[in-house]
């Protein structure tokens, strides 16, 4: 209630000020707002300087705006965010000059940050927008610790400009694959984690000794040690790719013992440990498409995973786990609903919860005054196959919902001019 009141109060203030001098850059009229936190409501949403500057009763007179977008009958939501991508790091998987998704060398690559490799001109970005994504969390894969993933707005500008201030998320892995990475069993991977945590903490407390060569040999490079401090010492969030119940439980024990902040991704068997995950307050990142025993790490894979976790109070995030087709995030959400997740919870899992994971929920993830205007206007229920994106705004800027693929469509809409072989 207090939240709604605050919004209403801000609205009144803004409405009053706009009447005198300030004009909204643009307003979207006629749509119904679907939010992760409030009931659907018909309203006019206005934007100024990249942020939502007012939300007005639909019945009130249209606010003064530089541009008015008529969205009568449409749905308006916060832009979607897929947290599990490598967007910007890759155009073509098979071509090394178009693929920067994996670091090299030592299996610990904490110093590698997504923005080192992020290319805002990647053709994938516009394709993501065509599916209603306004941001992604993107990062490297491979190794035991893959690097630091970051939130990027899918707008215009350099990678530095598209990167809100954030700590980033440390991407790591555990389970049979992690064991294989370090040349042994999953237990060897656990040993390596314990060793590197000890090393980072020794380093963080005695950095001068280390630099003056008065310290035992550490297993990490200096850049990795520095990069690990926010995650091993000061509570930054790890996103650990893990699948089997027993592995999730092992990580929960490690997190409790070492006071680490773990989110879990993949997490096909997370539903089996839902109460513990709920108690730990962990984010769990899953795909509603995972329902096959694809490996012996995920024999308990089932499509109700997201619904069961949500029901147990776990903060669920849905992901495609894809990059080129991260645009299909809305259908991953729809399939979670098909498998029993309440619709609004599914919306939260692709809007608000990703922003919370990144520590950016004050600015992103919902439709409220003051938040960054990453917004999508849909022809209907965003999770339905029959729905299309009508308008999309990133940081308040209207961007085309078309991509290189639409240009190909234009070139081939007519077959005239192509020689018959």
């Amino acid at each position: 209630m207090s939240r709604i009141f605050a919004v209403a109060f801000a609205t009144i203030l803004l409405a009053a000020s706009s009447a005198s001098a300030a004009t909204h850059d643009r307003c979207v009229t006629g749509a119904t707002i679907y939010s992760a936190t409030e009931a659907p409501r018909a309203a006019t949403v206005c934007i100024t300087a990249g942020r939502i500057s007012g939300i007005f009763d639909a019945a009130a007179a249209a606010p003064d705006a530089g541009e008015t977008i008529d969205a009568k009958g449409s749905w308006l939501t916060a832009g979607l965010t897929d947290v599990g991508t490598q967007v910007g790091l890759i155009d073509i998987e098979q071509e090394h000059d178009a693929n920067d998704t994996e670091g090299g060398g030592d299996p610990v690559r904490a110093g590698l940050r997504a923005d080192f490799d992020y290319n805002p001109d990647s053709a994938v970005i516009a394709v993501c927008r065509s599916g209603g994504l306004t941001s992604v969390i993107s990062g490297h894969s491979g190794g035991l610790i893959s690097g630091v993933a970051e939130w990027f707005d899918l707008g215009r500008g350099s990678s530095a400009e598209l990167l809100p201030a954030q700590r980033g998320l440390l991407r790591a892995s555990y389970g049979s694959g992690a064991g294989h990475t370090v040349g042994g069993s999953r237990g060897d991977a656990m040993l390596r984690y314990r060793e590197l945590l000890d090393d980072v903490r020794s380093y963080a407390g005695n950095r001068t000794d280390y630099l003056q060569n008065r310290m035992r040999e550490l297993t990490l490079s200096r850049t990795d040690l520095d990069a690990m401090i926010p995650f091993a010492v000061t509570g930054g969030t790890w996103v650990v790719d893990v699948h089997r119940q027993s592995d999730i439980e092992a990580l929960l024990r490690l997190a409790a013992e070492k006071r680490l902040n773990f989110a879990f991704t993949g997490a096909e068997e997370a539903w089996k440990v839902a109460p513990a995950l709920s108690a730990a307050g962990s984010f769990v990142i899953v795909s509603s498409f995972s329902n096959l025993p694809g490996s012996f790490d995920e024999l308990g894979s089932r499509e109700e995973n997201a619904a069961l976790l949500d029901k147990a109070g776990v903060k669920v995030i849905l992901t495609t786990t894809e990059t080129h087709n991260a645009r299909n995030l809305r259908f991953v959400a729809g399939n979670a609903v098909r498998a029993g997740m309440p619709w609004q919870r599914a919306l939260a899992s692709v809007t608000l919860h990703p922003a919370m994971l990144a520590g950016l929920d004050k600015d992103y993830g919902d439709v409220s005054v003051g938040r960054v205007a990453n917004l999508v206007v849909w022809s209907g229920d965003p999770f339905e196959t029959s729905t299309t994106v009508q308008h999309l705004m990133v940081r308040g800027e209207r961007l085309p919902t078309t991509s290189r693929q639409h240009d190909l469509l234009r070139r081939y809409r007519s077959m005239d001019g192509y020689q018959r072989p």
């Binding site: 073509i92 394709v127 025993p293 894979s301 990059t323 080129h324 081939y412």
Partner: protein, 487 residues
């Protein structure tokens, strides 16, 4: 060994005399090589189960795949075949013969023909992904027409049941794309209880052959330092292969003509003609040239497809379906004129340069041009939601102003798929006389929210909401029964 038997049957049916080589010289044998020729019939495995009662689905919205939806209608099936379809909610006992049948009230539900997936690797690349069951590519030589995916199918793949729950009643299991010729495909029905793949064989389905062009074979064999390592190497290898197959075919056709003459003689004096030696791979290719085996060719790029069309024209066979074919929209006029179907995806792209030009409107544009578009999965995940794939492609096409409708879209995963596999006379639409492979959905079939409620294969309820939950696969016995629970 079904393959050997199958190869022998093909000889009996079309080329005769598999036994001639050794038998001809023996006393009494000549009569046998003549009489054997007419007795060969394909051994169709007996059905695993038979439909025991007539079933009528009532008050449904029926998408027959042949035109506009039928609202508040009914469909009856008996002994594995559709026997009647009618309007007005439910059949009248007196005039429509509704008596004695099991009635299933499908009020508020949609009914379609079973989904047919033309491109699956279930069983040959099963779940879980293990080295012991990695059986999809005989990647030891660029042309392996002698192998058949049927011989690799692990019938315990848990993916079959997941596919059934997605409404898939039939599919083509293909070898992978490492080879220019990967081997025969296996067209099967999706039924519970098979102990060997043969029991799943789709009765009456023609044989198919998986081929591949472009990047995949040249990567695999170029990587081994052998031909082909380039597209020109691909084409040269395939062209040489077809020339040799044409020779093989001619040797057997000549032999059969001579045998016909010899068998037609009253006294059969003299020695019967000597049979050429057999080669399983060449037999398969010869059957393609004769038009009895339907080629299914993995190609992404428009130019790669046109090169294959040229070879097919040159050798005198018809390509039945291009697979993946993300650039098919660029040559849709040719594909329509040549009657080549296109088994594709609405949106997969970017994993290699060949797949860089996918557009979501592809299936719509192909349909508009009069070509047969098919949406297939190539994935144990996607094949659980082919209706959604069709829904996505429909929305994209409509958005671009392409005139296609729900009937076109459902045909992308049913009727057109059946045509691509040569089983359209048996399946793919809801029409009287066709096989009772039928899905009842709880939402509009192209919706994200649609789940199959009932799935009938040969009139048997393979998915029955009232049946006790027990996984199909022995692999999931004991450990994974929750997968079916929670509902």
């Amino acid at each position: 060994m079904r393959h050997l038997r199958k190869a022998a049957l093909l000889l009996l049916l079309t080329a005769c005399g598999g036994a001639a080589e050794s038998g001809a010289k023996q006393a009494g044998a000549p009569a046998a090589i003549c009489s054997n020729r007419s007795t060969g019939q394909p051994a169709i495995a007996p059905l695993l189960r038979a439909q025991s009662e007539d079933i009528i689905l009532t008050h449904a919205t029926i998408w027959t795949g042949t035109g506009a939806p039928l609202t508040d209608s009914w469909i009856r099936f008996s002994k594995g075949r559709i026997t009647a379809i009618g309007s007005g909610g439910a059949p009248k006992v007196n005039t429509d013969g509704g008596g004695g049948a099991k009635i299933i009230d499908a009020t508020g539900k949609w009914v379609t023909a079973g989904i047919i997936d033309t491109h699956s690797h279930l069983g040959v690349y099963p779940s879980p992904n293990t080295s012991g069951h990695d059986d999809g590519n005989e990647a030891t030589g660029p042309t392996t027409p002698e192998v058949s995916s049927q011989d690799s199918v692990w019938v315990q793949d848990p993916g079959f049941e997941r596919a059934l729950r997605g409404g898939v009643t039939a599919m083509q299991i293909l070898p992978g794309s490492a080879n220019l010729v990967g081997g025969r495909g296996f067209v099967m029905k999706n039924k519970r209880g098979a102990r060997i793949a043969e029991q799943l064989h789709f009765p009456g389905a023609p044989e198919t052959l998986k081929m591949a062009c472009g990047e995949n074979p040249k990567r695999v064999y170029g990587g081994q330092g052998r031909m082909p390592s380039t597209r020109m190497g691909n084409i040269a290898t395939v062209r040489q292969m077809w020339l040799e197959a044409a020779d093989y075919r001619k040797r057997w056709d000549d032999y059969n003509a001579k045998l016909d003459d010899w068998c037609g003689e009253d006294d059969r004096s003299g020695e019967p003609p000597e049979a050429p030696s057999r080669d399983l791979g060449q037999e398969t290719l010869a059957e393609v040239l004769r038009g009895h085996i339907l080629p299914q060719i993995h190609c992404y790029q428009a130019d790669d497809m046109l090169n294959q069309v040229q070879i097919a024209d040159e050798m005198g066979f018809a390509i039945r379906s291009f697979h993946h074919a993300v650039e098919a929209y660029k040559i849709r006029d040719v594909l329509a004129a040549k009657q080549i179907s296109v088994s594709t995806w609405p949106d997969w792209w970017g994993f290699k340069i060949e797949a860089y030009d996918t557009i979501n409107e592809g299936p719509g544009l192909l349909t508009e041009a009069g070509a047969r578009a098919v949406l297939k999965s190539d994935s144990p995940i996607t094949n659980q939601r082919l209706g959604q794939e069709a829904g996505k492609a429909l929305a994209a096409a409509r958005s671009a102003g392409v005139k296609v409708d729900e009937n076109d879209a459902i045909r992308w995963v049913t009727a057109n798929a059946a045509w691509a596999l040569g089983i359209d006379q048996f399946a793919g639409t809801l029409e009287v006389g066709k096989m009772a492979d039928i899905v009842v959905w709880n939402h509009q079939p192209l919706s994200t929210y649609a789940s199959a409620v009932w799935v009938f294969v040969d009139g048997i309820a393979e998915l029955d909401p009232n049946a006790p939950a027990d996984p199909w696969s022995d692999f999931e016995a004991g450990t994974n029964n929750h997968v079916r629970g929670g509902r």
